[in-house]
């Protein structure tokens, strides 16, 4: 695309942009550097002092990571988070794609009304649901268990995921459905052989969005899983660390980076789907 002609000083434009970008990354750079510095150094001087001798590799170590992963239990929390996130991503997308397909291409009474109602549920803040759900969960004995939180994330994720998949699936060309119906394919065969393969781009964006939403979630994990080490997620564990190790920055920074590594890798690797997914998901409760 043709860039606009610049009518004010172009060097000041570049300067403003570079300063802005610098301010934006500085906090994260500080976190990353601190997480690799030995504890005595972290307490004695600011992280920026490493730039006095940038190639003096003795002032870096993996010690903080060893401590948070093995001793403080963030390795366990990382695995817990994976174990929470993967089913909490797959189940809602599976259920939502069935529903979206039916809403888009099947005829039944109340189709529009039910769909509008379902999407309207997007407005409900999670806080509105937590106490009754928690009571039901405790009656069922699934508070603090993984299946409980899988169900919760599925329920909370469904309105948005269904809506997004619906907009994509309903946009598929209708000829596709006429011709294959004539060929005698069942609705399920059409779903598996035509709808799902064609929806891969939409499913990819939604998967990334839902994965990140669950991975980064604090509130749902806090309420339905709690802080016991066997089930605690990274976000729950780290917010507990902030309370108990408030001034041990070498540990907190390493811990925070452990929780950020996977989202950042996804961000860098799949940027296009990523941005799409995030934009689509911005309205979620």
């Amino acid at each position: 695309m043709k860039k606009n002609t610049i009518s004010f000083s172009s060097s000041s434009l570049h300067l403003i942009i570079i300063i802005t970008a610098f301010i934006w990354v500085l906090p994260t750079v500080g976190l990353l550097i601190t997480s690799f510095r030995p504890p005595p150094d972290v307490a004695a001087s600011g992280w920026w002092t490493v730039f006095q001798h940038p190639f003096n590799f003795t002032c870096y170590s993996l010690e903080n990571y060893q401590r948070v992963i093995a001793k403080i239990g963030l390795g366990r929390a990382f695995m817990n988070t994976l174990f929470i996130t993967i089913p909490s991503t797959i189940i809602p997308i599976l259920i939502a794609s069935f529903a979206a397909y039916a809403f888009a291409w099947m005829e039944f009474p109340g189709r529009k009304l039910i769909f509008i109602f379902l999407v309207g549920l997007l407005v409900i803040p999670l806080q509105m649901t937590m106490i009754p759900v928690l009571r039901i969960f405790s009656n069922l004995g699934i508070v603090g268990t993984f299946p409980g939180i899988w169900l919760a994330h599925t329920g909370y994720g469904l309105p948005l995921v269904t809506y997004l998949l619906y907009t994509f699936i309903s946009g598929l060309p209708s000829e596709l459905f006429d011709s294959s119906s004539i060929d005698g394919a069942t609705p399920f065969q059409i779903f598996i052989k035509i709808v799902m393969p064609l929806s891969v781009p939409a499913i990819a964006s939604v998967t990334i969005f839902q994965f990140l939403w669950v991975w980064n979630d604090l509130l749902v994990a806090l309420v339905y899983l709690g802080g016991t080490p066997e089930v605690a997620s990274l976000t729950v564990s780290i917010s507990a660390l902030v309370g108990s190790y408030g001034q041990d920055w070498e540990l907190l920074t390493a811990a925070a980076f452990v929780s950020m590594i996977l989202p950042l890798a996804l961000f860098l690797g799949l940027q296009r789907y990523f941005v799409k997914g995030i934009l689509a998901g911005s309205v979620k409760g």
Binding site: A99, P187, L218, L219, F274, I278
Partner: protein, 290 residues
């Protein structure tokens, strides 16, 4: 449309409908109901919980703080997002800088909270400052500040800046797409006619982007009404930084007062609904324009 047996569509939608009923419809109705009852939902107490919400000091502080968040966070994210989008459109390395500014959207609010707590780290004047803000102050011979403790303006403002850092990239991406949709000839013509950049910004760019700006602003407002993680991690609402969502969590989990917690949740919903209505109206307007 495809031909199906009468029962088939219901089989496809029933898991979704059942789960939505179970996790959103039924609990919401129940929450409204128990907001009129006492702490363990046994005794009907009418509007007492709501009365509490509007008289209790901490609750009033939470309302004030959410209002502060709206007043600063929303204009800042939208304005910064817009300015950055427009400036970046003029340079070749646009996409790299965009990625850097969007990056905070990838990480959790908890992670962002730790990052910024470290930026705001405070130690007594005799010790070396390891938080970058206080190090900068020391460099200029100023006393270090306990940023997250000085109430009520500085600490709330510091928390709001964390939100701004996270969400500006989001606003930037949406506003950038909208900005690129403005016909270049329009801007060129105005320049040829001798209009300066600021005039073009106020008279052409802003009016044309108004619908998108409104949607972004309402989306940010809804976000801010529900702000929880940042406050929970960084101050847990201490030093007058309490917000509605964190208060609801405390009433529910720490004080076990389900009646009060429910009434706070209902108020949260009531605050959000007008924003959603504005968003829907904007959306309809745009549809009719097309």
């Amino acid at each position: 449309m495809i031909h199906t047996k009468k029962i088939t569509p219901w089989l496809y939608i029933s898991p979704a409908v059942f789960l939505l009923f179970f996790f959103l419809v039924y609990p919401s109705i129940k929450t409204i109901y128990i907001s009129f009852f006492d702490y363990n939902s046994e005794k009907f107490i009418g509007l007492k919980n709501y009365f509490y919400c509007f008289t209790n000091e901490t609750m009033l502080i939470s309302f004030r703080n959410n209002a502060l968040w709206i007043a600063f966070f929303v204009p800042l994210t939208v304005f910064l997002g817009l300015i950055i989008a427009i400036l970046l459109d003029k340079v070749k390395y646009e996409s790299i800088v965009k990625s850097l500014i969007f990056m905070p959207m990838a990480i959790s609010f908890v992670g962002a909270g730790v990052i910024w707590k470290f930026v705001y780290a405070y130690r007594p004047i005799s010790a070396a400052q390891t938080g970058i803000l206080n190090a900068i102050r020391s460099f200029f011979q100023l006393e270090p500040l306990p940023w997250l403790i000085i109430r009520p303006w500085l600490n709330n403002f510091c928390l709001i800046m964390v939100g701004v850092w996270i969400w500006t990239g989001f606003c930037m991406v949406i506003l950038s797409a909208s900005y690129k949709g403005i016909p270049r000839e329009l801007l060129e013509a105005a320049r040829v006619d001798g209009a300066n950049e600021f005039r073009i910004f106020w008279k052409i760019i802003l009016p044309l982007m108004k619908p998108t700006l409104a949607v972004v602003a309402t989306t940010m407002t809804i976000n801010v009404l529900k702000v929880f993680d940042i406050v929970y991690v960084m101050t847990n609402g201490n030093f007058d930084t309490e917000v509605i969502a964190n208060r609801m969590y405390k009433e529910m989990f720490i004080f076990r007062n389900y009646g009060r917690a429910s009434s706070i949740a209902v108020l949260l919903l009531l605050f959000i609904i007008p924003m959603i209505l504005v968003n829907i109206r904007r959306f309809r307007e745009q549809e009719t324009i097309r």
